[in-house]
């Protein structure tokens, strides 16, 4: 899931500028699970802004609401009235949610309340770690389910490097060596022969390195929908 953190209050206030009527929009999906921008967080942020700006002599009228998924246009249909009444919309969804809001309501000033960081998973309460880089060419099938692109500091495909140190990474000793983990896992699975296959240099064109990406599923397109250039 997407992991994000809330921006500082000072940064958020700078983004709000002189806007008097602020609508905080939370999201009920990823940012709820990482306690960054769900209903509770949106409510607390709205209260914090309201009280802080009043204390500072520049009161803002701050309301809040939460949609189930901020990244999909259909879920944003119901909040049109609230958006139109606001001077500034403060989205505490991920970067996708912010952009979806801004695109849906092109006349609205939409600013981000979060820093969207990575795709990861919770390790324990309050701790999330990066697990996927969305490289577009998944190698997890041959690495025992451990991603060397996301978890190896050097993104090696035929690791480990010479710096692996008792299972820790030489770049960051707080990190487990991904290739040690891969080795251990493949050994458990009795698939060590996979380590003997040399993986050629990665074609990064499928990742963000190849430019902004889009996927078109022709099988899901509805009759009557206009064909994009990619589909022709």
């Amino acid at each position: 899931m997407i992991i994000a953190e809330q921006k500082s209050l000072d940064e958020i206030k700078n983004l709000l500028g002189d806007g008097k009527r602020v609508l905080v929009v939370g999201c009920g999906t990823c940012v709820t699970v990482c306690f960054a921008g769900g209903e509770k967080e949106a409510g607390i942020l709205a209260t914090t802004l309201r009280m802080n700006t009043q204390l500072n002599g520049d009161p803002k009228a701050v309301t809040h609401l939460t949609v189930q998924r901020q990244c999909e246009s259909e879920y944003l249909d119901t909040i049109q009235d609230q958006v139109s009444e606001a001077d500034v919309v403060l989205s505490v969804g991920c970067g996708i949610g912010v952009q979806a809001l801004a695109e849906k309501y092109s006349d609205a000033l939409v600013v981000p309340g979060l820093n969207t960081s990575f795709m990861g998973q919770p390790l324990e309460q309050g701790v999330w770690a990066e697990r996927c880089q969305a490289c577009g060419s998944c190698v997890l099938g041959v690495t025992g389910g451990i991603c060397p692109i996301a978890r190896c500091s050097k993104q090696l495909l035929n690791g480990p490097c010479g710096g692996t140190d008792d299972g820790r990474c030489e770049i960051d000793a707080d990190l487990e060596c991904a290739w040690q983990l891969i080795y251990d896992k493949l050994k458990t699975q009795e698939r060590m022969h996979l380590l003997m296959d040399i993986t050629p240099p990665k074609d990064w064109s499928s990742s963000r390195d190849g430019g902004p990406r889009k996927i078109v599923r022709k099988d899901l397109r509805l009759p009557g929908q206009e064909m994009s250039n990619d589909e022709r």
């Binding site: 306690f35 709205a46 209260t47 914090t48 309201r50 802080n52 009161p59």
Partner: protein
């Protein structure tokens, strides 16, 4: 006392929420020490009285809440100038 809660770890969770509320108050620009938690049993009446008296004195020293305009009507609901912080913290810290 702490850890001896009838609800097992209830008062430990409560302490975390109180500390969170204190941090929020500081972030807002109010004094975090306006909120306090102590552990007492129901049999500790005299300690309760002295603790409350002491806390009352601390609060008097801090001064009145500058956001309290004495109009409780305007403090309810989503659009009020202040909002009951207690109602939005809730079970957040479970």
């Amino acid at each position: 006392m702490e850890g001896d809660c009838h609800y097992l770890d209830g008062n430990i969770n409560a302490r975390r929420r109180v500390e969170y509320a204190q941090r929020l108050l500081e972030q807002i620009g109010l004094e975090g020490k306006r909120v306090k938690m102590i552990n007492l049993s129901s049999a500790m009446g005299s300690q309760f009285a002295s603790t409350v008296a002491e806390f009352t004195e601390e609060i008097c020293q801090i001064g009145p809440n500058p956001l309290h305009n004495g109009d409780h009507e305007s403090q309810t609901g989503n659009n009020g100038p202040t909002h009951n912080l207690r109602t939005v913290i809730g079970p957040q810290m479970e």
